[in-house]
Symmetry: C2
Subunit: 201 residues, 2 copies
């Protein structure tokens, strides 16, 4: 597994789905992205229920782990079946978070004394855990990175993609989602993710 996205009931839709889409645009093989959770399916804050690809323990096999965000995360952090079962090892994995997902990294002791960012609503809560919270979209500390504000998923996923699949893949993926005439040109058809726009099957 290349990237594991960690979800839970009450996840913010776009903070799972935007990374899921971006990471699936990578055109290298093999390449596997999975959504993992404590349960076989999870329901977003907006009410969409999706199947997951496996339990939290599988995250130990991933080269990178991205913890998503959402109002449901606080309950998950109080649940030993979630937080104790979540394997995160920055010594051998890239570890990232979207928005409130930074709270999970802090709970696991990964952000003590470090700089990190989070969604505005979680700023005080994260700071109370001994984290230096900064008003930035993307903060990297070695193998650990926090991103905040949904569209900062481009920074976070771009970092993971470049580290795992190279700078050309990062550039292709990020360009492919830009608005036409505002980052993506009609003449860019030869440099788009084949996995999404011209699948072999």
């Amino acid at each position: 597994m290349d990237v594991a996205i960690i979800a839970f009931d009450g996840f913010t839709d776009i903070d799972v789905f935007l990374p899921w889409d971006l990471l699936n645009r990578v055109d290298v093989r093999p390449w596997k992205v999975a959504i993992l959770a404590r349960t076989p399916q999870v329901t977003s804050v907006a009410g969409l229920t999706i199947p997951t690809h496996g339990g939290l323990a599988l995250a130990a096999e991933a080269r990178a782990v991205l913890v998503a965000s959402g109002v449901g995360l606080r309950a998950a952090l109080q649940d030993p079946a979630f937080i104790d079962a979540l394997p995160l090892d920055p010594a051998r994995q890239l570890i990232g978070s979207m928005c409130s997902g930074a709270l999970a990294l802090a709970h696991k002791g990964l952000l003590a004394g470090k700089r990190a960012t989070t969604y505005p609503t979680q700023r005080a809560r994260l700071a109370a855990m001994g984290v230096e919270v900064v008003e930035e979209p993307f903060v990297r500390e070695g193998n650990i990175a926090t991103a905040a504000g949904c569209l900062a998923a481009l920074d976070l996923c771009g970092w993971m993609i470049e580290a795992l699949a190279g700078a050309a893949q990062r550039e292709m993926v990020l360009r492919s989602v830009q608005p036409v005439g505002r980052g993506l040109a009609f003449d860019d058809t030869q440099a788009l993710p084949a996995r999404i726009y011209a699948p072999a099957t």
Copy 2:
């Protein structure tokens, strides 16, 4: 129903999920967003299966209809159970498309002789249907609008939100997904969508 998002097997993940998330951030009541398709569930091009909220006929009850995109759309357009069953009435509804979704609008005769945009890969196909294809992120012609490049969903959904719920809702929703420090400030906590960040339940 306020907004119906039209999906199908082989939809581009983010072109359903980003509008779904943005539209669900609107803080007016009542407010209902639904994902409609020919089948009770649909599977994205990246392989995620989601339940839908109803059949295509329900789109007739929506104030706005947004046709999503994806490699599966071409098969859907050849299927009378999809294209004939899709009610789109710009005389009384806002009609919008993401990326290749413009092909569905053209199939329904809504873009003849009009300006429209689409994903780079579909430019020639759309032009062959008598549409003036322009390299722009968002093109509005009265009650019909086409957007292209995944992040142009912000333009398309912003248009629908302002028309249906007012400019303040549009501003709040679009700000709430910007990266921290790059459009969203830590001090913006009083102006975020309660539906997503502080649900009553």
